[in-house]
């Protein structure tokens, strides 16, 4: 009888300890925010993709990110080993923009946005073909869409001199607007009026 009691006690203790650790893990899983993890994975992929074609020497590139507090674009410099050809450079710059600011500035496009293809024509028009994901999680607004578009256009113009204008495509098609406000039907030429004056 006493042996049975001892066995039962041991089993109960094992179950209780197991349940405690299970609940602890469950709590962590339940309350841990899921989206940052997914975003981090997406960002890592982008970072790898952005650095993959690097063949040239590392140089400082200037990327423009939205500063919503000012309603303007703020420059951020970072070292990047830029590829030799323009098309790969454009990809690197755009992916670095999607990867996000390292100084706490606003995001340009959602981390899940995919750049499907890039074409650069002889007259300096860069065609950027984004996936539909670029729009799915994009917080719409006239200001946010303007800043997103010009952060890409101005960043490309300053880092890839051959880019004179940019045409945005979504899933290979010309889109009416980015997310309901800013027209994407025409080419975009760089506009420095949205860049914050240097302090």
């Amino acid at each position: 009888m006493s042996r049975r009691v001892a066995l039962f006690s041991i089993l109960t203790a094992v179950v209780l300890v197991g349940a405690f650790f299970y609940l602890l893990r469950l709590k962590r899983l339940t309350f841990a925010p899921q989206s940052p993890k997914a975003e981090a994975t997406a960002r890592t992929k982008l970072r790898e993709a952005a650095l993959e074609p690097a063949s040239g020497p590392t140089q400082l590139v200037t990327l423009y990110f939205p500063s919503y507090a000012e309603g303007l674009l703020r420059p951020e410099t970072r070292p990047l080993a830029l590829a030799a050809n323009d098309t790969d450079r454009i990809k690197q710059i755009v992916l670095a923009l999607i990867e996000g600011s390292q100084q706490g500035l606003g995001s340009v496009l959602p981390p899940t946005a995919t750049l499907r293809a890039v074409f650069l024509t002889a007259d300096g028009t860069a065609f950027l073909d984004f996936s539909q994901d670029a729009l799915t999680n994009f917080p719409p607004g006239i200001e946010s869409e303007s800043l997103a578009v010009y952060s890409i256009v101005d960043s490309l113009a300053v880092n890839v001199p051959d880019v004179k204008r940019v045409q945005f495509l979504i899933q290979g098609q010309q889109a009416h607007t980015l997310a309901g406000h800013i027209s994407l039907s025409g080419y975009f030429v760089p506009d420095s009026s949205l860049i914050a004056p240097s302090q």
Partner: protein, 434 residues
């Protein structure tokens, strides 16, 4: 809401001192020590906790300490001792037409307009409750009447079956009985009957869209206060299946812009200086081109499009925009061969300077009335302004984004300040132009 604690299968919410516990796939709601049984279980869909609509009327009254009613017909929640006007509808045949009689429980104020080939009957500012959103009639003149108050303005929208019908709305019974007489006009315009007394003049369904413009629209002008007043076109951004931006509490851009337009409309009409044309009446889909067509047919003094969007964490903020193309227009495509015609996507370019001035006036006046320092007006390719043949601007309030509490944007004081700012800016714009 005081707090929220989510577990795998249950969620605990604190409203003040009241604790509510919901469990997935369970009909029991615990409120402190009390148990409440719902007709349908609580569900979790893609991480969102969904309660049946009866939750609104069974749990909310206790939490808010106010009566709560849920209008099934239009999915609206009435909180407090609100006693909306209600009405019944009857249709009867008359020679060469039909007569629709709407009997209200409280007096209404009648105002009518013709939009997109439909007749719109505005019912005043008091809430109106309708048992259904659409009424169908078996006649060959007006097969359908719809009730709509999505933008805060209760109204009936009558759809005539064909173009060229005459519409005689009138109010009797101390303002409680609305009679809408729809008749086929006599063959000869000379013998057309002229309504007298308290019977309104015929209002033709002067559609704003060329596709729905009834043939008689040019023969009978719509009832508008005075033909000499300048028109202001107000455009509530988005609508229908296009929700626009969404705030932390689920506030949708399409609803916020409709609210803002309703307030600005009232302020403009109250000034007695303007006629107002709305592009969007109710929660309907409207493309940018349709909005621009409506504006251009009205030959307005100004076109103002209202938006709300992601503008960072600061709230409230207001920005004003005028149109600038994303790249300089190709001079070869500027209509050189046919100077009488302007490409549709370049219509606004001729009004760029006036639009920039209007944007500046608006930015200054909105800053003065709301005390929110906005940035200087932007010139960006806002799609809805592109083809407006008039001074055109967009006003964006923010921030309306999933990570921002948009409550300050729904504050009536803030919205009224915007409305007053718009009236003052238009006065300044007119003064400058003259």
């Amino acid at each position: 809401m005081g707090g929220l604690h989510a577990k795998r299968k249950a969620i605990t919410i604190w409203f003040g001192n009241t604790r509510i516990v919901l469990r997935e796939n369970n009909r029991i709601v615990r409120m402190d020590n009390a148990k409440l049984r719902l007709a349908h279980p609580v569900r979790v869909v893609k991480g969102d906790w969904m309660v049946p609509t009866e939750f609104l009327t069974s749990v909310l009254p206790t939490l808010l300490n106010q009566p709560v009613r849920y209008r099934v017909a239009d999915r609206q929640v009435l909180i407090g001792n609100v006693h909306p006007n209600t009405f019944s509808v009857a249709a009867s045949a008359v020679p060469h037409g039909t007569e629709l009689t709407f009997r209200f429980t409280q007096p209404i104020q009648l105002q009518t307009a013709a939009r997109n080939g439909k007749w719109v009957i505005f019912l005043g500012s008091h809430p109106v409750e309708s048992t259904q959103s659409a009424f169908r009639f078996a006649n060959s003149y007006v097969p359908e009447a719809r009730f709509d108050d999505q933008d805060g303005i209760p109204k009936l929208i009558l759809t005539p079956s064909s173009v060229g019908l005459d519409f005689f709305p009138s109010l009797t019974g101390g303002g409680r009985v609305l009679v809408a007489l729809v008749k086929q006009p006599p063959p000869s315009p000379a013998s057309r009957p002229q309504p007298t007394g308290n019977v309104a003049r015929p209002l033709a369904a002067t559609g704003q869209s060329a596709a729905t413009l009834p043939q008689a629209a040019t023969a009978v002008p719509p009832i508008i206060a005075s033909p000499t007043l300048p028109v202001v076109v107000l455009d509530a951004g988005h609508g229908g299946t296009d929700d626009g931006a969404r705030g932390e509490n689920g506030l949708l851009e399409k609803n916020l812009t409709a609210e803002l337009v309703a307030r600005v409309r009232v302020a403009l009409l109250a000034s007695g200086k303007y006629k107002v044309v709305l592009t969007r009446v109710g929660d309907v889909n409207l493309s940018s081109n349709q909005r621009d067509v409506i504006a251009n047919l009205a030959h307005p003094l100004a076109f103002i499009s209202f938006h709300a969007g992601n503008m960072g964490l600061a709230i409230p903020r207001i920005n004003v925009y005028s149109y600038a193309p994303s790249s300089p227009p190709d001079p070869n495509l500027m209509g050189a061969e046919s100077p009488l015609f302007v490409p549709w996507n370049q219509v606004q370019l001729a009004y760029a300077a006036e639009s920039q001035q209007l944007a500046l006036d608006l930015q200054q006046q909105l800053e003065a009335t709301t005390h929110e320092a906005g940035s200087k007006p932007w010139q960006v390719p806002v799609r809805v302004l592109r083809s407006v043949a008039a001074p055109a601007v967009a006003i964006e309030v923010g921030s309306l984004a999933p990570d921002t509490n948009p409550t300050p944007l729904t504050n009536p004081t803030f919205q009224n300040q915007i409305a007053i700012g718009v009236v003052m800016a238009l006065a300044a714009f007119q003064a400058g132009a003259s």
